[in-house]
């Protein structure tokens, strides 16, 4: 009877050490990062889905802007061809590539929105205004998703470097540091999409 009790106590102690040393919480935090990343992906996808409609609408009014439109279409296809798997989140090169492609699409879109300024009829078109609202909403969602992803990464990266989680990670879990999703280089200089 006594032996069973000491054995049970030891077992409990072991579990306790594991639970309070971040064995579970590290994995939860990593899962939060993955979830936040999938939110970014879905907002990026949402943006990509809006573009064909947008291009079609603008085309009807602004035939002279073939070049700008073409750039948007090409940037879109490049951006959608790059997808990251959860493991790629720890890969700086892959992340860099995706950010570059998405950044290019953002700046192509802002150029298009500036060009559109020259076409008052287009700007009065209900369908275009709707698309524009959706595009703005999507850009905003991307921003929010990016912020939340970066926060999750910050928490995760911080905890795998702090004691005692760092030890748990080193010996048991071997989780890798995650890359941040930085604001696009172009986004700071690109003209703002407001009307």
């Amino acid at each position: 009877m006594k032996r069973i009790m000491t054995l049970g106590t030891l077992l409990l102690l072991l579990t306790c050490i594991l639970t309070s040393c971040g064995y579970n919480s590290l994995q939860t935090k990593e899962e939060t990062v993955f979830k936040a990343w999938s939110d970014i992906e879905s907002t990026l996808q949402r943006r990509a889905d809006l573009i064909p409609n947008l291009v079609a609408t603008v085309k009807g009014y602004a035939q002279h802007e073939q070049e700008t439109l073409q750039q948007v279409i090409e940037a879109r296809s490049r951006a959608t061809s790059i997808q990251l798997s959860p493991a790629d989140l720890s890969n700086p090169a892959a992340m860099e590539q995706l950010q570059a492609a998405q950044g290019e699409l953002s700046s192509a879109l802002s150029r298009l929105m500036v060009v559109v300024e020259r076409y008052p009829e287009l700007k009065a078109n209900q369908g275009f205004l709707d698309l524009q609202n959706q595009l703005e909403g999507t850009e905003n969602r991307i921003n929010v998703a990016r912020q939340r992803y970066n926060e999750a990464v910050e928490i995760f990266n911080g905890s795998i470097r702090r004691l005692p989680e760092s030890l748990t990670n080193k010996f048991l879990l071997h989780l890798e540091k995650k890359e941040y999703f930085k604001a696009e280089e172009g986004a700071k200089t690109a003209p703002k999409v407001t009307f």
Binding site: T15, S25, E136, G137, N140, V144, T194
Partner: protein
């Protein structure tokens, strides 16, 4: 008696945690004003009658639909970005029911001549960016251009309500955020546990305390999925509880479990007493912005 003691401990811990989270929030350029009610007219652009009317309509709407629509007007954004500020407001106020995320905010910045409809996750299906944009463009801003803020806001809120009507049914009683733990039920189950443990280990209170300190956080981690701070607190609680339970079981050795359940009536529920508060709704940047 020790029930009272533990309850006090629990609420003090809770308070400390709340304070900790409040302090750790960063202060930014334009602070989010406190939530006064459904209508927060800090810019003073609405007539008192309009405020009363809106407040009443929105309250009735929430009673039938459980959806919360909140209005905020500010004099100026002080250079902050509209979308940024709007998100900070809803993250601070958290309107809408937890899990349903059914709420929307109409934000008006008077001097910037900008406005935004911020939509919670639960309403994004109905009150899409497109629909929000149309409400701003076709319904609100034409009135604002005439300088008729009252009518613009009333029409805009009505349109928002009409759009989301029927999306959610009223829930029986207001629910608090689900991820927060009900400290009372936790304490009660712990007390029951300790009374049994204590009776078993009357002679060796320190062993009881040790086991309590181990099992309480274990239970918290496995059954309730609590975070590390809670677990630490539970370990302390478990230690103390084990000690107390052992000594009580030694002297009185009786009806601790029944007493534990009686303590349930004195709980601290979320303010259902007329005051208005958010219920933990979440937002992801949906909605639309506009200007006049």
């Amino acid at each position: 008696m020790n029930n009272v003691l533990l309850n006090k401990k629990g609420s003090r811990l809770f308070l400390t945690l709340v304070l900790f989270f409040l302090c750790s929030q960063s202060v930014s350029a334009l602070d989010v004003p406190p939530l006064k009610g459904r209508v927060n007219d800090y810019a003073g652009i609405l007539a008192p009658a309009t405020v009363r009317q809106l407040e009443e309509v929105l309250q009735r709407f929430e009673a039938t639909e459980s959806t919360q629509i909140v209005l905020l007007t500010v004099p100026s954004l002080d250079g902050a970005s509209l979308e940024d500020f709007s998100l900070r407001v809803v993250e601070a106020w958290q309107p809408g029911q937890a899990k349903l995320d059914n709420s929307a905010l109409l934000l008006i910045a008077k001097n910037d001549r900008k406005l935004r409809i911020e939509v919670g996750y639960g309403l994004e299906g109905r009150l899409t960016d497109l629909v929000s944009g149309r409400i701003i463009r076709d319904i609100i801003t034409p009135r604002f251009k005439e300088g008729n803020f009252d009518q613009g806001v009333i029409d805009g809120i009505s349109a928002m309500m009409a759009t989301v009507k029927g999306e959610f049914a009223a829930t029986t009683g207001k629910q608090g955020p689900d991820n927060s733990v009900d400290p009372e039920s936790l304490l009660i189950s712990l007390l029951v546990f300790f009374s049994i443990l204590g009776r078993m280990l009357t002679r060796t209170p320190w062993l009881a305390a040790g086991i309590g300190a181990i099992i309480a956080p274990l239970f918290g981690a496995l059954a309730l999925g609590l975070g590390s701070l809670w677990l630490l607190a539970l370990a302390v609680l478990g230690f103390v509880g084990g000690l107390i339970a052992a000594s009580i079981a030694g002297t009185a050795g009786s009806s601790l479990s029944r007493r534990g359940y009686r303590g349930r009536t004195g709980g601290f529920g979320r303010g259902s007493s007329g005051g208005f508060s958010g219920g933990g709704g979440r937002f992801g940047g949906g909605g639309a912005s506009g200007g006049w």
